[in-house]
């Protein structure tokens, strides 16, 4: 059973070819935009690579860049084909090219849709990557003299100031880590010795946060140290104070930022996907309509165009069979080679 049969008189064919040519140029620009968006996203992800534990999320911008480049090629050929479509002499040379062309184009178009779905689905992976990365960043904050970690302090400080956040989940993460380097602690003083003895690992823990957690919107000068001690500061209540330091955690801030970015990009890529799909569908109709004209005397007759000659399942088997036989044949030949030397020797 033919899928989506449509009648195409001559004038309609001409109009289809012209519309398709215009559409394919728009789709080329859209493909370039997709590539640019992919590059943008990758740059933004790389900027904060120090607070990300793994690069799994980079698959989204990588896919977008590949799809963008592929769609440039697909649409270039689409415009060339539809230019030749109305010329009965030039159209037949595309005959053998079209079947693999459609296969490859459908693959990349579906990949585009997959990229959009992935950008929503990978939120969990991004969150866990940020959780681990930020935990390490906070732990190594004090190691400004260790090679490879000496810029952690600067990165975390700038991150907290730019995204207006403090700590991993919230500011209390700083209470559990020693973020003051031993080089700046006076080990002969009683206070330092008490604090170090008060916990198992011998760390200098304070109920204080770095200056980068301070909120400029607070009406009073920033209180960074002895945050939980109400009597240490005049007219201060730890439980009700909201504007002193940033209350939001950096993981939440970064996840929101990146999900917002990916949502915007996803919406754009979705519209590019629709455009690309319409280009391919129109090209298919044009191809089938023009194939019916081939060999005929009068090129201005009415023809029928269709999407798929057989049903969806049969067409898929048609495309997958060569691939499967190629793979299976390879396996069979290998097995054959292994078994034949055996009987020959004995």
């Amino acid at each position: 059973m033919v899928v989506m049969k449509m009648k195409f008189p001559f004038q309609k064919r001409v109009k289809l070819a012209q519309g398709l040519w215009l559409l394919s140029w728009c789709a080329t620009v859209a493909g370039a935009t997709t590539f640019t968006l992919g590059c943008l996203l990758k740059t933004e992800l790389r900027r904060r690579a120090e607070v990300m534990d793994n690069t799994d999320i980079h698959i989204v911008p990588n896919t977008l860049m590949i799809v963008g480049l592929a769609s440039l090629g697909i649409n270039y050929f689409a415009s060339k084909i539809c230019q030749d479509a109305l010329d009965a002499g030039r159209f037949p040379r595309w005959k053998n090219f079209l079947k693999p062309y459609f296969a490859v184009s459908c693959f990349f178009t579906v990949l585009m849709l997959l990229a959009v779905i992935m950008s929503y689905a990978m939120k969990g992976s991004l969150e866990s990557s940020l959780k681990a990365g930020l935990r390490n960043g906070i732990r190594f904050y004090k190691d400004t003299d260790t090679p490879g970690r000496c810029f952690q302090k600067q990165n975390i400080d700038r991150l907290q100031m730019e995204f207006q956040c403090c700590g991993n989940n919230d500011f209390r993460d700083w209470f559990e880590v020693q973020w003051i380097s031993n080089r700046y602690l006076d080990f002969s003083s009683k206070e330092v010795k008490d604090r170090i003895k008060s916990n198992v690992d011998g760390r200098y823990l304070v109920d204080g946060v770095p200056f980068s957690c301070c909120n400029p919107r607070s009406p009073r000068p920033c209180i960074q140290y002895r945050l939980t001690n109400n009597s240490a500061h005049y007219n201060y209540d730890y439980q009700t104070e909201e504007l002193n330091i940033y209350l939001r955690g950096c993981r939440e801030a970064l996840v929101n930022y990146y999900m917002g970015l990916m949502n915007t990009i996803g919406a754009g890529v979705l519209s590019v996907f629709l455009l690309q799909a319409s280009v391919l569908v129109s090209l298919r109709f044009l191809q089938t309509a023009m194939e019916a004209v081939a060999g005929k005397e009068n090129t201005e007759i009415e023809t029928e165009g269709y999407l798929l000659e057989n049903g969806v399942k049969e067409t898929m088997m048609e495309y997958l069979n060569p691939v499967l036989t190629f793979l299976l044949l390879k396996n069979q030949v290998q097995e054959g080679e292994e078994t034949t030397p055996g009987p020959a020797t004995t």
Binding site: P210, F211, P219, P221, N235
Partner: protein, 344 residues
């Protein structure tokens, strides 16, 4: 002898008109560029007008906006004239006003040069405005409960973080003012009473700076309070410590920021001026080549185009003579009236 004579046949005239028309379109874009630069500069000034005591001069951005608009208008008109110059009937209606238009263009170009010079010169008054505004801003840092000044703290903190600076000249400016509000001082504590008693104005002064002065590149946690007291902090030397707080003053930082903007705008305005001068010269050639046709009826005859009808010196003396005649004409009228008055 005319200045810079060039011979024109029909083909050359057509090419000249087309080139000048094309250049006029670029000049319209350049006018739009000048307009947008003026708008950008105005917005940047307004963003930080709090730090300049709200009396910064908007003369330069307003001038840039006006020049941009005039440039767009004159270049669009010039482009239209060039486009019509290839058709004698259409050109005929523009012919009478061309001479005045060209004189106006020359005047406009001179104004553009003056604007460019102003861009480089206005840095100096800006320096004084900034110094005054920042000093007052720091004074009002603590007044987060006074209407009209409650956002000064936030503005100053965000500015010090963004421009990586501290204080007016340097961080020691914070030692000379009280930047902690009285609402957060415990007046029953001995330390507070000592500090207030120690100076004439009864202000709570300390050798500390706000957190926004802290430098994230410092290897140690920020030391904001008791900065001049080496013994208050372990392994700390006030004189050799360089990375702890930002060492640059905010006046220098803001001045170099705005100075950079003004220098760039000045350079771009100079480039636009050069473009404007070249299109004015082009239009003059188009005009003169069409008015000196060897055979006025035949459009394909040869003609000459020139920059000035006489040499520079003669043109100058001509202009002076014309102005004298105009002045004398006024005097003759006055004399006539007096004569009439004396007669009666």
């Amino acid at each position: 002898m005319a200045l810079m004579v060039v011979k024109f046949d029909l083909k050359k005239r057509v090419k000249l008109a087309q080139t000048v028309w094309f250049m006029y379109w670029f000049a319209v874009l350049a006018g739009i560029l000048v307009l947008s630069l003026g708008l950008f500069f105005k917005i940047e000034l307004r963003k930080r007008s709090e730090l300049m005591d709200n009396n910064e001069s908007h003369f330069l951005p307003n001038l840039l906006i006006a020049m941009g608009l005039i440039a767009c208008a004159t270049n669009a008109f010039g482009g239209k004239v060039c486009y019509d110059s290839l058709d004698p009937t259409k050109f005929g209606k523009w012919k009478p006003m061309l001479k005045t238009f060209l004189v106006l263009c020359v005047g406009f170009n001179a104004l553009l040069v003056i604007t460019a010079l102003l861009c480089f010169v206005m840095r100096i008054p800006l320096q004084f405005t900034l110094a005054e505004g920042l000093k007052n801003g720091m004074k009002y840092y603590k007044d987060t409960d006074t209407p009209g000044r409650c956002y000064m703290k936030r503005t100053l903190d965000l500015m010090q973080i963004e421009f990586r600076c501290c204080g007016n000249d340097n961080y020691r400016d914070w030692f000379e003012i009280q930047w902690v509000s009285n609402r957060y001082l415990d007046f029953s504590a001995k330390e507070v009473k000592d500090r207030i008693g120690s100076n004439v104005d009864g202000q709570y002064l300390m050798d500390g700076v706000p957190f926004s002065c802290c430098n994230p590149s410092s290897p140690r946690p920020c030391i904001q309070y008791q900065m001049t007291n080496n013994s208050a902090h372990y392994s700390y030397d006030h004189y050799t410590e360089e990375l702890n707080v930002w060492r640059r003053g905010c006046r220098d930082a803001l001045l170099s920021y705005y100075g950079g903007i003004m220098n760039t705008i000045g350079a771009l305005v100079l480039l636009v001026t050069m473009l404007e001068v070249s299109v004015t010269v082009g239009l003059q050639y188009v005009d003169t080549s069409l008015s000196t046709l060897a055979n006025p009826e035949d459009m394909e005859s040869e003609s000459e185009g020139f920059l000035l009808e006489k040499t520079v010196k003669e043109t100058f003396t001509d202009i002076m003579a014309k102005m004298k005649v105009m002045g004398k004409g006024a005097k003759v009228e006055e004399g006539g009236e007096e004569g009439v008055a004396s007669v009666s």
